[in-house]
């Protein structure tokens, strides 16, 4: 636990600073009310009303997120393997070759199905 205590200390410092900045922001500046100023910015035209919850996004982002999760998980396995590589010996190498090959197969599939293309 002691290893994490300093992080807590730093977090308190940084968090305090950030919260403080956000909190005093309204008080440090002038206040000149202007209706147009309080609209969302849209290059000067009337802002498009945005649905609560953000509306619907292109599916593309979801696919990217999914792919991120998949590969991030792969990384989770690569790190311990890399750290313990010397002790695992050839076994570790064989298994990781299989693992990466499998991932690459899925990767190739995604690629060919245009999962990696943007538009």
């Amino acid at each position: 636990m002691e290893l994490y205590l300093p992080i807590l200390v730093l977090a308190v410092l940084a968090g305090g600073f950030a919260v403080f900045s956000v909190a005093i922001a309204p008080f440090t500046g002038p206040k000149r009310w202007n209706r147009a100023k309080l609209d969302a910015y849209e290059c000067g035209i009337d802002p498009t009303p945005q649905p609560v919850g953000g509306g619907r996004f292109p599916l593309k982002y979801m696919i990217t997120a999914m792919l991120f999760i998949v590969f991030d998980i792969e990384i989770i396995f690569l790190y311990p393997w890399a750290v313990a590589f010397d002790q695992l010996g050839v076994f570790g190498l064989v298994e990781m070759v299989l693992f990466i090959a499998t991932v690459l197969v899925a990767y190739a599939y995604v690629w060919r199905r245009k999962g990696l293309d943007w538009d």
């Binding site: 999914m66 999760i69 998980i73």
Partner: protein
């Protein structure tokens, strides 16, 4: 000490389980399931510390993987039905009944 973590994990699990049962939006239901899985992870890690072996932490790894796979599959399914029906409420899914 570990009891607190266990209570927390049980609480999270219960929240998740209740959420699955009472919420109507498929995505929220799904999030509740994920919450349950993460409650399990917490329990595993806690027990790993309690027992002084690494099995629990290891399991947490795998659970994460599984949860990730589940997210991928689940969202794909939910998005498909959402596109069809323009609604993610599980109450609207009512074609199958006896």
């Amino acid at each position: 000490m570990t009891t607190h973590y266990l209570v927390l994990s049980a609480l999270l699990f219960a929240i998740g389980a209740v959420g699955v049962l009472v919420r109507r939006n498929a995505i929220v239901v799904f999030m509740c399931v994920e919450l349950m899985l993460n409650a399990c992870n917490l329990a595993f890690v806690t027990f790993a510390r309690q027992h002084g072996n690494l099995d629990g932490q290891l399991i947490a790894f795998f659970v994460m993987v599984v949860a990730a796979a589940e997210v991928v599959v689940g969202l794909a399914i939910i998005v498909t039905i959402f596109r069809t029906r323009r609604s993610a409420s599980v109450d609207d899914a009512n074609l199958l009944k006896y």
